[in-house]
Symmetry: C2
Subunit: 355 residues, 2 copies
DNA sequence: GTTAGCACTCTTTTTCTTTGAGTGCTAATT
DNA sequence: AATTAGCACTCAAAGAAAAAGAGTGCTAAC
């Protein structure tokens, strides 16, 4: 099964209205109870006007089409991945947010925070609490920011703090111990050299190769300053390493229906796994399931939505939770939050923040 | 039950040698298998020369004394907390480290790292991998370091990075957004004011009260610079907040014999819980069990050992794992590591690091 | 003091039975 | 032609009963 985008309308057109209604009802019920759903349960629902026998016939069709399955002969039905997919794409009733909910979400966004990344962080935290899921964030900074400053500050015998600041207001630091103390002249040269050669360079692009070239071109200062350049390289890496953040993993580990070994495995190479999923080639909202393209936590799903800036994908925010998730509620939450963030970081441009 | 120190020799003197041997054998076996241990198992051990019946009699006595217990009548014995305590204090055979093991541990210590805290961090990481436990660290810095520098660096419209550096080479930063841009004069005043009033102050002591007094005494600069002072306060807090670090929690969460809810609970107030345990009033090595003084993870134990400097307790390093732990191996590991760190951070004083 | 022997206890495992939810199919109904 | 009632069938889950087995405590012998 491949990762797929949302809003691929039309797959469900093979189904008549009643079958759609039944499929949706089965999934709604399964999401709440976690138990296989039988024909009787569906028949007793207020919106359903047909007998259990009819529902059984329809469910048999839905099973043949691959939307439902039976754990065993005498059990009710549970949704397949394809069933969930159809449900999310076409069947479910996304609950429109009430004014109170909007207010609640607005309050969660900490607009006083100085960087866009921190704004997203605040949304992530709120989302984790509201949904009891883990959250996943892809930060804006590496893509939209460039180095504005590299500083070196002496702090003790042969000890120096290296500082890298980006246009998005983010900062990383690193303590370096050198073999020799630097002279004032050396420090000045370093600052100037950095300003001339790295200012405006994206942290995304700052490779070891660039650094090596800079070292080679440094002339007499080469020996003394090379360790600092290496530190600069590590700082850029620190920026990149923090691009993708998963938090609230506790919420996943606490659940029995999710294999904790798989969670640990996922957390260990989250960067690779998530990076593939959050790129430009997908729609605004993306939902992937237990086995989709490299995402390998059984019985769990990841919902992410894009944050944009100047029309480009800037970052992403979403949740990782069990398959049995209240999609109808959570998807609007995520869409609202990413929407608000998109607005906020554009406003800022005209106002007082430069990202 | 209260937290207790190790090396409280003499409690086991009520027991004759054979009973001690049997108790040790039961615990050894239980640590490996996790199953209640019966008299037959013990009798078949090479070091034991008596019959199962004799062992049964002795085990009955050990049970009466509170060192062993029976899950049910027809089961073997398992150790009680008191049993473990006696085992660790007096009975177990701490395995002396081989040269290879010492080498291994030495290699894990990253001596190239610039700060003592980072050195401990490297030990913690190694320990977590070697023992498959969570590790707990109490850093040295807050106690042994003072503020050496507070800097403010402009990074954009009304955006400033606040920097705090301590004598131990640690650094924290914070991005602040102000209402107005600072003039050069204001920035100079701030730097000077910080240098005069905070240099040499311990991050441990930097309270809100001190900051408030500083703000009040700032005169005309008060309005503009107060937000920065607040940031300084937060930076000191950031230092204190990172004093105690638990890592490798995964190793605990993966185990079924430990209640994950209790782990989560513990992690949430680890600072309070651990702080109480790692103070000066205990011996060099401390082992606490599932219920000891505020430490509330059933079936688990925490082993910590002190790192010293100038004769004072400087930091601590240890592990949190299941009760069934290979104490005989792990305790020497921890003792060796904390010993080496103690040596290394003293050496540094004469050489090139100032902590 | 130590040990063999044995009855006793209590968990664990296995086997068998019962229960019940839910189905698929067929025939009747609309 | 679509829907429904009725019913036999399936299979997991729960329960009951039996068997197995590990380990003990006690007694009496060594």
């Amino acid at each position: 099964m491949k990762a797929q985008v949302l809003n691929r309308k039309g797959v469900g057109s093979l189904l008549d209205e009643r079958k759609k209604k039944i499929l949706a009802a089965v999934i709604d019920s399964y999401i709440v109870t976690g138990e296989p759903v039988g024909s009787k349960t569906i028949a007793s629902l207020p919106g359903i006007k047909v007998s259990p026998a009819t529902i059984r016939n329809d469910m048999a069709v839905l099973e043949q089409l691959g939307y439902l399955e039976q754990p065993h002969t005498s059990a009710g039905r549970i949704p397949t991945y394809n069933g969930y997919r159809l449900y999310i794409d076409e069947l479910m009733n996304a609950k429109a947010l009430s004014d109170e909910e909007k207010q609640l979400l607005d309050d969660c966004l900490d607009v006083d925070v100085p960087t866009a990344d921190a704004l997203i962080e605040s949304a992530s935290k709120a989302l984790s609490e509201l949904t009891h899921c883990a959250t996943v964030v892809k930060n804006i900074s590496p893509k939209f920011s460039v180095i504005t400053k590299v500083e070196v500050i002496p702090t003790g015998k042969r000890m120096y703090v290296l500082l890298m600041i980006t246009s998005s207001g983010n900062i990383r630091n690193k303590v370096c111990r050198l073999e020799f103390d630097l002279t004032n002249e050396q420090m000045e040269f370093f600052s100037k050299y950095m300003a001339e050669n790295l200012q405006g360079v994206s942290v995304d692009e700052l490779s070891e190769e660039i650094i090596e070239n800079l070292v080679a071109a440094m002339g007499t200062y080469m020996v003394t300053l090379a360790p600092l350049l290496k530190g600069v390289c590590e700082l850029a890496e620190a920026f990149r390493d923090t691009e993708i953040k998963v938090s609230g993993e506790k919420n996943l580990l606490a659940r029995q229906d999710i294999n904790s070994a798989q969670i640990v495995q996922f957390l260990e190479n989250k960067n690779e796994v998530v990076k593939n999923m959050l790129d430009d080639s997908f729609g605004d909202l993306q939902v992937v399931f237990g086995e989709d393209g490299g995402f390998v936590i059984e019985n769990s799903s990841m919902i992410v939505s894009k944050i944009k800036k100047d029309g480009r994908t800037a970052g992403t925010l979403g949740v990782i939770g069990p398959m049995r998730l209240d999609y109808a509620k959570i998807i609007p939450y995520i869409e609202y939050l990413t929407g608000r963030i998109t607005e906020l970081i554009s406003e800022d441009d005209d106002e007082d923040k430069d990202i």
